[in-house]
Symmetry: C2
Subunit: 210 residues, 2 copies
Amino acid sequence: MNPLAIPEIVIRRLPLYLRTLKLLADRGLTVTSSQEIGDRLGITATQVRKDLSYFGEFGKQGTGYEIKYLQEQLRQILQVDRTWKLALIGVGDLGRALLRFTAFEESGFEMAAVLDRDGAKIGRQVGRHTVLDVATLPAVIRERGIQVAVIAVPTRDAQEIADALVKAGIRAILSYAPIQLSLPQHIQVQQIDPILSLQGMTYYLDASQL
Amino acid sequence: MNPLAIPEIVIRRLPLYLRTLKLLADRGLTVTSSQEIGDRLGITATQVRKDLSYFGEFGKQGTGYEIKYLQEQLRQILQVDRTWKLALIGVGDLGRALLRFTAFEESGFEMAAVLDRDGAKIGRQVGRHTVLDVATLPAVIRERGIQVAVIAVPTRDAQEIADALVKAGIRAILSYAPIQLSLPQHIQVQQIDPILSLQGMTYYLDASQL
């Protein structure tokens, strides 16, 4: 099937299902239901079933989903049944926090290069990584076979770094900079901005309690 | 209108519109169009118009939207035309990165308290904040009138902190912990998890280039 034929909002929910299945598996469960998955995520069982039905028939009426099998299928669909190499650009507080984040490796990603522009950081060891000069970006990306990059640089440098990443052949960018990056259509971009999340919540708060 | 009558996905896009309008205003523009907003966000002009039409008639056929007016209206709708007080729990690398993030104040939020459980951090100065003991959470939340909290603690502590926050009267939580928090229905929760964003992108990548 053409991957673009499925609504993006459905795709964005699949990683949530995968994470929920892992949680259930970690607790020793082997079987689950659309109801249980939905309850944990605050969405309806019907929505869960509808989302999964885009990709096939994964459960049985009455018995539910075999967790391990559904995990494997979702990993395949999301293409995280393989390992994608990541580059992290920017080793400030945020970059260091990301380097401590152990979930990458178990979720289909391997931190393969860590770069910064700051001469005081280049050559230093951070965890198991030696910080590389961002000026060597094109060679590092090519030689290490990196496809995905995480931008954790100051806002003012983010667009320049993004442009350099695209030029170096990166195909997906996760950016922590609170600006809308301007990039070619064929580049996947996701942004992490706490303001967007916070402003999406205040809408629902009862301001009379302020 | 009942705030729950509008699809959540529409609400989640409003902060993006607001950020785009700010960008255009910062460049000195005074008028924009659904086409321009949509182009910058990679969504259609029709979608932008449809989303805004839930809340009223903000533009004029042919002349577009007055940026300043639309900003004011969106701020009012999202309830960020006032200031919400934030508590940050956890002053590790991530917490420190968040304390450097200047966008909170200009977006409707004020960092009003910073707490940690680590005796080595309590009492220390981080930026303009003195780190408070997380054991004093209930009193701090009440006395400072804090409504929203940001969780930046290690994963193993996140649920316990979330429970304490709810007990202390917090009504919205932004969590950086990569776990699904279990909380009462009436609490607003948003989670920031780079894995979810990364796995939502790999679906679209051409794995044959691996």
